[in-house]
């Protein structure tokens, strides 16, 4: 199955179909099951060793809420301090503005080859595609991202972009696209990628990164990684551009104490990532590093999320990916089925918030509301509550109109539920339907007219309503006793 890089929003409609297709892809499900299982187990072990985990989560939640409350203040402070350190700060209202800024910087730098470290925010704005259309060469240098780029796909996980691929698939991909011999050995495959990427680092004119946190009081930002590729991306080329979502700002350097304990553990089960790099301005005289450092602060729908206390909660997300790994839906179908940049529980929440519920109306329903995501979220986001809020929003809009039958059914249902007499009528109607539901032949004929019954009985038996309801049995008993 191939997942070409694409305009995501066009496919948000196709979630049910995508999910069905993913369920038939046993290779995908095998890879997912293995990887999400391993990562979640490591996360569990890492978390267990921190006695004050719940307290840390509370602190992070409070800190995030307080910061988002006055986000404009912290952003301005960040800008001022960044400029004071020689960083050039740009503001982008949306994806188009951000892309245009990067394109202008690339043109000014006369950049032909651009190297990138892993950044979901650049995925969000479709940066690679934009730059390639303008004739630049863009090379992803995170191993997972490199694989995805070679395959012409999009990341299917926010931390592990190639989580859906098996080793064998990657070996075959390298063989096909790089002309190397087919291999399944991760060491060999990594060595091949490393060798190729070294050449790219050496020839790159510009490096692009994201950031995990931007620190207002110092005007610096932090990048966490495990491969060292982000360091190369941001130190070898003459120009470094960092694209940062405005929600990434935190007030103080000391606040990292909380987040650095939460994020690596939640993301990969590591106590700390292999590298954490704090960027505070371009190179000083006589030192190494980029001559120019640019920060682009991206809004792209985020400030609109601030206006409502519920959607604001979703801006606290530190993109650890834990909710994806633990989600029983994501675990079955993977990230591509969502057809959104951000998949899984958090993707189902922020995609409709960023792109509109009309477009992403399926996603809030792509959950059984089991709550496993809420339990693991390191910043305590109540994801099921947000999904529920979005569901009711979908129903208020016109997007739900495709479900006109369902709307009518619930109207009838609520009538039946709002009085004992009417409820009694419903019981009687159910009783009448009983013979139809009990006989397999009659049932399958009935299912043709009642889609939910057909959906249920495709792989499950349906238990018909009881001959006598509880309330009738209770009445009988009372009559007997008196």
């Amino acid at each position: 199955m191939s997942h070409p890089a694409q305009d995501h929003s066009a496919n948000l409609e196709s979630f049910p179909e995508n999910a069905r297709r993913a369920l038939n892809d046993s290779q995908l499900r095998g890879a997912l099951r293995h990887a999400t299982g391993v990562i979640d187990e490591r996360r569990g072990q890492a978390v267990e060793r921190v006695a004050c985990w719940q307290e840390l989560r509370e602190r992070a939640k409070t800190l995030k809420a307080a910061t988002l409350e006055r986000l404009d203040h912290w952003l301005e402070l960040f800008e001022r301090n960044a400029i004071a350190r020689g960083t050039q700060v740009h503001w982008a209202r949306d994806a188009a503005e951000a892309n245009a800024i990067v394109a202008r910087l690339a043109a000014d730098a006369g950049a032909r080859t651009l190297v990138k470290s892993k950044s979901m925010t650049t995925e969000e704005i479709g940066l690679n595609q934009h730059l390639e259309e303008l004739g630049h060469r863009v090379v992803e240098t995170d191993l997972g991202e490199y694989i995805i780029q070679l395959a012409g796909e999009t990341p299917s996980h926010i931390i592990v972009p190639a989580i859906h691929k098996t080793r064998a698939e990657i070996g075959e991909l390298f063989h096909r696209t790089l002309g190397v011999k087919d291999s399944k050995d991760p060491k060999e495959l990594t060595a091949i990628a490393r060798e190729r990427l070294r050449e790219e680092f050496a020839r790159a004119d510009m490096g692009i990164s994201g950031a995990n946190f931007a620190i207002a009081e110092t005007g610096s930002f932090l990048v966490l990684e495990n491969e060292g590729n982000a360091r190369l991306c941001t130190s070898l080329p003459r120009v470094h551009v960092a694209l940062i979502g405005i929600e990434k700002v935190i007030p103080r350097l000391a606040d990292l104490e909380v987040f650095l304990r939460l994020l690596p553990r939640s993301g990969t089960g590591q106590h700390l990532t292999s590298y954490q790099t704090l960027f505070s301005g371009p190179r000083a005289a006589g030192r190494e590093g980029p001559e120019e450092l640019h920060v682009i602060l991206l809004d792209n729908g985020r400030s609109a999320m601030l206006s409502d206390s519920l959607s604001r909660q979703a801006l606290a997300c530190i993109r650890c990916g834990a909710c994806l790994n633990v989600c029983p839906v994501y675990g079955q179908i993977g990230g591509h089925a969502y057809a959104s940049v951000y998949p899984g529980p958090i993707g189902s929440v922020i995609t409709p918030m960023l792109q509109g519920v009309e477009q992403a109306h399926h996603l809030p329903f792509a959950s059984s509301l089991c709550g496993a995501c809420r339990d693991v979220c390191p910043v305590g986001i109540d994801l099921p509550a947000l999904l529920l809020k979005l569901r009711s929003k979908v129903r208020q809009g016109s997007a739900g109109s495709g479900d006109r039958e369902q709307r009518r059914a619930f109207r009838l249902w609520s009538l039946a539920m709002s009085g004992p007499r009417r409820y009694g009528l419903l019981l009687r109607a159910l009783r009448l339907a009983r013979p139809l539901l009990e006989r397999p032949g009659a049932r399958s004929r009935l299912a043709r007219w009642v889609p939910p019954l057909a959906a249920w009985t495709a792989a499950r038996e349906f238990r018909p309503p009881a001959g006598r309801s509880f309330r009738e049995l209770w009445r009988d008993q009372e009559a007997k006793d008196s």
């Binding site: 049910p16 999910a19 069905r20 369920l23 029983p328 839906v329 675990g331 079955q332 179908i333 809030p364 329903f365 792509a366 959950s367 059984s368 509301l369 089991c370 709550g371 496993a372 809420r374 339990d375 529920l388 569901r391 009711s392 929003k393 129903r395 739900g400 369902q406 709307r407 619930f410 249902w413 609520s414 009538l415 039946a416 539920m417 709002s418 009085g419 004992p420 409820y423 019981l427 159910l430 889609p451 939910p452 959906a455 249920w456 495709a458 792989a459 499950r460 038996e461 349906f462 238990r463 309503p465 009881a466 006598r468 309801s469 509880f470 309330r471 009738e472 049995l473 209770w474 009445r475």
Partner: protein
């Protein structure tokens, strides 16, 4: 203790024997059980599907019917969790909000009522067989119910509790989710049931009829002899 039963609509219509068993268990625990036929549904099906106004209509009816009670017991963790959402459901209606806030803390899921409120685990039940417990999501993650049903099952004569590694995994029901995305719903369930047969259990038990319908429906289709039982049915077994 005077206890009002909120039997829940699914039990009322599909598994009335679970309602009878709940009454039996509560009586054995020394409760004076009443049932008000004015009750209908907690509103959860509509609430989870995004139809808040319809959910309110059902909730109002049930609140009205039960609010005079001292304690209300439900044979369902999921519907009990819904009662905790009632205040939020009526956020824009101060009068009903107040009534919702007053009734919510009086609603108890059966196992937590028996263990935490009554402090009673020994009910003289007998059930010969090996049973695996399914921690239904809302009871587990919204109400924190985990040890209570186990404490009750531990005292059942003849019952052997087999802990299964997937006990906390979602069964894939999720209300309308189960028919909106049927293949996905069943795939999630199959993942949960994996390895269960090989543990040699005779039944999978839970405190939610919704999960049990999903589980038993699939087991029946697969031709399994495993039974799906409600906690109350086990606790009411073999009256002494």
């Amino acid at each position: 203790m005077k206890v009002s039963l909120f039997v829940t609509c699914l039990v009322d219509q599909f598994r009335p024997e679970v309602g009878l068993a709940t009454v039996e268990v509560l009586r054995r625990a020394g409760c004076d059980v009443s049932f008000d036929p004015g009750q209908t549904c907690c509103g959860q099906p509509a609430y989870n599907a995004g139809y808040r106004a319809d959910a309110r209509a059902a909730a109002r009816q049930t609140i009205q019917s039960l609010e005079e009670s001292e304690a209300i017991v439900l044979p369902s963790g999921s519907c009990t969790a819904m009662t905790r959402h009632w205040p939020e459901l009526f956020a824009d209606d101060p009068q009903w909000r107040e009534r919702a806030e007053a009734i919510a803390p009086k609603c108890h899921e059966l196992s937590s009522f028996l263990v935490s409120v009554l402090g009673c685990t020994e009910l003289g039940a007998r059930f010969p067989g090996r049973v695996s417990w399914h921690d239904a999501c809302h009871g587990l993650r919204e109400l924190g119910i985990k040890s209570e049903p186990r404490a009750l099952l531990a005292t059942v004569d003849g019952l052997e509790l087999i802990e299964h590694e997937n006990s906390e995994r979602c069964c894939g029901f999720g209300g309308t989710f189960s028919v909106k995305f049927p293949e996905l719903s069943v795939a999630m369930l199959d993942r949960k049931l994996e390895g269960l047969q090989s543990t040699g259990v005779d039944a999978i038990a839970s405190s939610d009829v919704s999960c049990l319908m999903q589980i038993e429906g699939r087991l029946a289709r697969l031709g399994s002899r495993l039974r799906a039982l409600h906690l109350a049915e086990i606790l009411a077994g073999g009256a002494s």
